[in-house]
Symmetry: C2
Subunit: 128 residues, 2 copies
């Protein structure tokens, strides 16, 4: 039974979600292949983590399929939004602005990215 509300996906959980976002719905075997490649953990571990995540409601699975197929229960952007909000709260006490500056200065944005961000800013102004 899923718990009330997952506070935060943990380290490994995020790793697994990343794999699911990339591969799409997959059997344990596939997920494990990637996870093992990244950290050398055993198949049992992958199964267990998936069980934990299922309990937390971070993934769902199709038990009719054989083998069972796991799907991420959150979208990448959904999780991203939550984590960003959290980060903003934790380190910038609510100032999204500061986070944006950090993000842009951390990784050099391409011309195309800059244009899209400008477009977004314009759009935001149109609304307000």
């Amino acid at each position: 039974m899923p718990r009330r509300s997952s506070p935060q996906p943990t380290e490994v959980e995020m790793q697994i979600l990343g794999i699911l976002w990339e591969l799409g719905p997959s059997p344990v075997r596939e997920i494990h292949r990637r996870l093992e490649e990244a950290k050398g953990t055993s198949y049992s571990t992958t199964v267990k983590m998936l069980a934990v995540m299922l309990d937390k409601g971070l993934v769902t699975r199709d038990e009719d399929a054989q083998p069972h197929i796991y799907k991420a229960a959150l979208t990448r952007d959904g999780a991203g939004k939550r984590l960003v909000r959290d980060l903003i709260d934790k380190v910038y006490k609510g100032s999204a602005h500061s986070l944006v500056l950090q993000a842009l200065s951390t990784k050099r944005a391409t011309q195309e990215e800059r244009d899209e961000i400008r477009r977004l800013l314009d759009r935001m102004e149109g609304k307000s």
Copy 2:
């Protein structure tokens, strides 16, 4: 003795850093006041966490002062940069662009913030 390199400030550690960034250098008593308010933990816990953080090099302290005064060893932006980089890697596999969009859509930016972001984008283009 400080360890080589702190992997990541943990949950409570971030909370304490946040308090130090806000209050500036402070004695345990002050830090505890805020922490207790937020989570109801005991004075011992605060002292211990500070000791752990001191060991990790996340804070420094002036032992000559009485009571001892603790300071954050990282700046808010320094920690922010590290966490942002980490978030980008973990959920967006390297695309700062996506994170920026998340950040902007999560919290409505003010006119002034938008202008400053545009200025930053211009500056970035000037450089390249």
